[in-house]
Amino acid sequence: MIEVQIAGAGAGKTYGLAEALIMHIKSCTNRKKTFALTYTNSATAKIEQEIIKQHGFIPQNLCIQTVHSFLLNEIIYPFSSFTLGDVYNDSSIMILPGNVRFKNWHIKRLKDKNIIHADIVYNISKQIVDETVSKHNNRAKKAKVQRLLAIIENCFDKIFIDEVQDLDEDALRVFELFGCNGIDVYMIGDPKQAIKYPKALDAFVEQISPKEYSTILDINNQTRRVPKEILAVSNGFCYVSQQQESLSEVVGELMYLESTDARYDELLDGYIDTKQIVCIDKKAARYSTSSKHKYSFPREIEEMIRDSDHKKDKTLFVKAAFSDFMDDVIEHGNKRAISILITRHSLKLSKPHFAQLYELCGSCIEKDVRFRVQSIDSVKGLDADTCVIILSRNTLRYLSKNKLTKANHFNKEWKKIYVALTRAKKRLVLAIDHDLFAGFDMGAVRDSIGALGFIYHN
């Protein structure tokens, strides 16, 4: 069985999910495991906290994990050899090149070492459990997949997935297969916040709703978090059937602030220091979205460091080396950091290795950073009394819907706007940095914001 619950921002999804999990665990009589899955580690921690708050402790047969870690540990590592004949026992998050051929070359190299890249976890998982993929092209292979699904059925009792809009179609297919093979799956999410794969969840819901193994629950359009004054703006980014209604008794505030104001820096610092949400769609000018440990060393370099002459724990040693390298890049610049790395670990690098390292440096290099803020992607699931959105041109374009064609509705950028708008419990602030709007008619900018109901920051 698959149940899908759609609920908007601030509907109390995590609270409700924790409640449902505890109910389920209490009524559970068998010894199978129940999984609570979500997209990020921080969201995992949130569910854990919520369960501890409601239940006192995390029950032993409840596993709270990210979807990636679930698919790796419960599906790919144990079963890829069974239905695909491929062995994986480790995973990598190294940067892959954009060029498809190079990318595949790297993925193949990793596979030769039994390593799977995080980017293909969803796809490989699907191949393992989906007999309709071309790899399983004869009856014997299909039978094996069926056999595997029968085995897996015995291992999982129920799978709860939070933030299901962050899954792509392959991952959704994996859970659909579980759902129609005797494992209960409960999905909760919000297609309005589907930033990564804007269409996947909508398409999935449409595809499974006629199936007898699926139940699409009534959409929850209530929000406890977002005050109705803010909803007046954010509902402009909702599907017709998903317009939200506020249960909050707080009076919402819509404000804007310009960098020409002498208080600008001070106010922004104040919001950052008091742990309010300050976000931007992507890093620009003085605003950095710190993400320096999102990647790892390229695999071959990682191995050289791992096996270099030291007596420490190999895994920890590599992690430490990476962290040092990132610090060096920021402190001394790319060239110096790479040369320090080479000397420190006596590396012998080839040309492609250098290219890879420079690319890695490029991903984290930051010049003239004044504010460390969060990306809109990373504030999903968070809330605060105040949310400050650093306005970018793109953000403004979507927010004002100025010259926005229908084709751009409900795409990635559109959905980012919805996410950013729905974080605040009380005050929503648009920060307009004039440096980001060089050549713009600021008067027109002010007008379009004013039209949405934003007033100048007091």
């Binding site: 199978k32 590592y77 144990p78 050899s81 069974f82 026992n89 056999r147 015995n154």
Partner: protein
């Protein structure tokens, strides 16, 4: 579910070894064929009695010496395959036939596709952390040496590490998964009830207590225990320990903060101080046999108490120290307990006791020959039934004696034994009366172990009984195997051949005070059955003027051939 197969490489006496197991397996073998090593090998890939994981780290003496020497030789000779010759210990355990969804869930992550079959495999490895580093070190170690200069124990085993991995992906198995497959051994040197000076309880018993006590019980124990300490505290004995000291001004200020408080151990620690009493004595003061019996009972009680874990129960020589009565009890207990316990319990016992083998079925037997383990699972039903009906039949003698002669009944047994006892030198031939006609099932099972082994010989003495077909069937074994000798009486039965043998007629006439011909004397003996033969044997064995009876030629030939 059960462990179906185990493969051992380079562990102690096992260079390369495979064994198939059943739900209940009876391991037999001569001394020094690796039965105990087999049990310790099994404990390496599974979660053990002891919380102490260090037990899984082996020492140099656990690595097969032949393998070490082979590796050293290849390094000294700078052979190309050094890397493959590094002595690595590995023990692979293959589980099969999970019976319900819980068992499938226990095993699922270890799924291995084996043709059309699915098995579930985990492996223990003890090997160098890094092969090439290891080779470098060994090369330095062996520089300028010949194989005669080096000792196997110089292998740098400190560069080794152990791991337990899932065979399907070579990935380490988390303790949280491994703890669901555990092993408990009662060793031949058992009995830790009495071994420690503190006379503590034993670990299994403590675990049993942990499993059986419910939460209320545990709370009660904890409360009582802390009250016990409060009571001690209330005696104020502690206050006198560190008194005041007027020599220093600030001494008392510092010491004022100091208080004695009981260091409350956890429940497991408390329980480990509980021991058993039997009647009016501590169990550890009882006799070895009594303790052994109770120990085995406790072990199975423990298995009953843990329903969420697979338990491999290994008992070495359950017969140890047991009296006839207790042996019968234990034999019955093991048989019924292993039959009644759920699918999560698998039992392996080793024994030197034929009655245990016969009771627990010869088809469950795994016989160790020193090089390999031979499963007797194909033993015909006929033999299984025969042994169950005759629990005292010495199957071990049949399988392992170096020189053995099979005879039909007691008459032959008496005659040959008497004859052999008169010979100079030590008697090393075992004679087994099988009490029936037809030896082929016995020869088949004997061949399973001893085929082509020139150190083992078996002779078969049969009566003709006017059946050429039966004779031909048995003679075929003689023809096909150099270590099997089959001889048949010329006449219908033994007595006739005996009387016919050179000079015997006269001697026997004298003994029986007859004056008959061959057929009269032999008829007399046949009618008198074993009693007559006993008379003959007594006469042969008497001190004065022993009767010099000649053996009939077919028996003489067999003794000649097996000696």
């Amino acid at each position: 579910m059960y462990i179906k197969k185990i493969t051992i490489n380079n562990y102690r006496s096992f260079r390369s070894f495979e064994a198939e197991l059943h739900k209940l397996t009876v391991v037999i073998g001569e001394n020094d064929t690796g039965k105990t090593n087999f049990f310790t090998a099994l404990s390496l890939p599974l979660s053990g009695n002891q919380i102490d994981f260090n037990q899984k780290r082996l020492s140099i003496s656990d690595i097969n010496k032949e393998a070490v020497i082979g590796f050293f030789t290849s390094v000294i000779n700078d052979e190309a395959d050094q890397l493959q010759k590094i002595p690595k210990v590995s023990i692979t355990v293959e589980f099969a036939e999970p019976e319900d969804s819980y068992e499938i869930a226990l095993l699922a992550k270890w799924l291995v596709s084996n043709g059309d079959e699915e098995t579930y495999q985990i492996r223990y490895d003890f090997k160098p952390k890094d092969d090439s580093d290891f080779i470098e070190v060994v090369k330095k170690l062996l520089v300028g040496k010949t194989i005669d200069d080096v000792n196997w124990f110089t292998l740098p085993v400190e560069l080794y590490d152990y791991q337990i991995v899932s065979v399907n992906n070579e990935k380490l198995i988390a303790y949280s998964d491994l703890k669901h497959v555990s092993i408990h051994c009662i060793n031949a040197e058992r009995d830790d009830f009495s071994e420690s000076s503190s006379m503590k309880s034993n670990s299994i018993f403590t675990k049993l207590l942990m499993n059986t006590l419910n939460d209320d019980d545990k709370t009660q124990i904890n409360t009582a225990y802390s009250e016990f300490f409060s009571a001690i505290e209330e005696t104020e004995t502690f206050e006198k320990i560190i008194g005041t000291n007027p020599d220093f001004d600030n001494y008392d200020d510092i010491i004022k903060q100091l208080e004695c408080t009981p260091n409350l151990p956890n429940l497991k620690n408390i329980l480990s101080n509980i021991t058993l009493k039997y009647g009016n004595e501590y169990l550890y003061q009882k006799g070895l046999g009594q303790r052994n019996l109770i120990y085995i009972f406790i072990l199975f009680a423990y298995y009953k108490s843990c329903g969420d874990t697979f338990n491999l129960c290994c008992i070495e020589e359950p017969e140890a120290h047991l009296s006839v009565n207790n042996l019968r009890l234990v034999r019955d207990f093991i048989e019924k307990s292993s039959r009644n316990s759920g699918s999560l319990v698998q039992t392996i016992i080793s024994t030197h006791n034929p009655s245990i083998i016969n009771k627990l079925k010869i088809s469950n037997v795994l016989a160790f020959t020193g090089e390999k383990a031979i499963s007797l699972s194909d033993a015909p039903t006929k033999l299984v039934d025969y042994l169950r009906k005759r629990p005292n039949f010495d199957i071990l003698k049949l399988l392992f004696a170096n020189k053995v002669i099979l005879v039909e009944g007691t008459t032959e047994e008496m005659l040959i034994s008497t004859y052999l006892s008169k010979q100079a030198g030590l008697n090393d031939i075992d004679i087994i009366a099988i009490g029936q006609r037809g030896y082929t099932t016995f020869l088949d099972i004997w061949l399973a172990l001893n085929e082509d082994n020139p150190n083992k010989k078996i002779g078969v003495i049969r009566d003709y009984d006017n059946s050429d077909a039966a004779k031909a069937k048995h003679d075929a074994y003689d023809t096909a195997h150099t270590n099997i000798i089959v001889r048949t009486t010329v006449n219908y039965t033994l007595e006739i051949d005996l009387v016919e043998a050179e000079g015997n007629l006269e001697l026997l006439n004298g003994l029986f005070e007859l004056n008959g011909d061959i057929s009269e004397v032999s008829d007399h003996m046949i009618k008198g059955k074993a009693a007559m033969m006993l008379d003959v044997c007594d006469a042969m064995a008497r001190e004065e003027e022993p009767l010099d009876i000649k053996l009939p030629p077919h028996i003489a030939q067999i003794i000649e051939a097996v000696s």
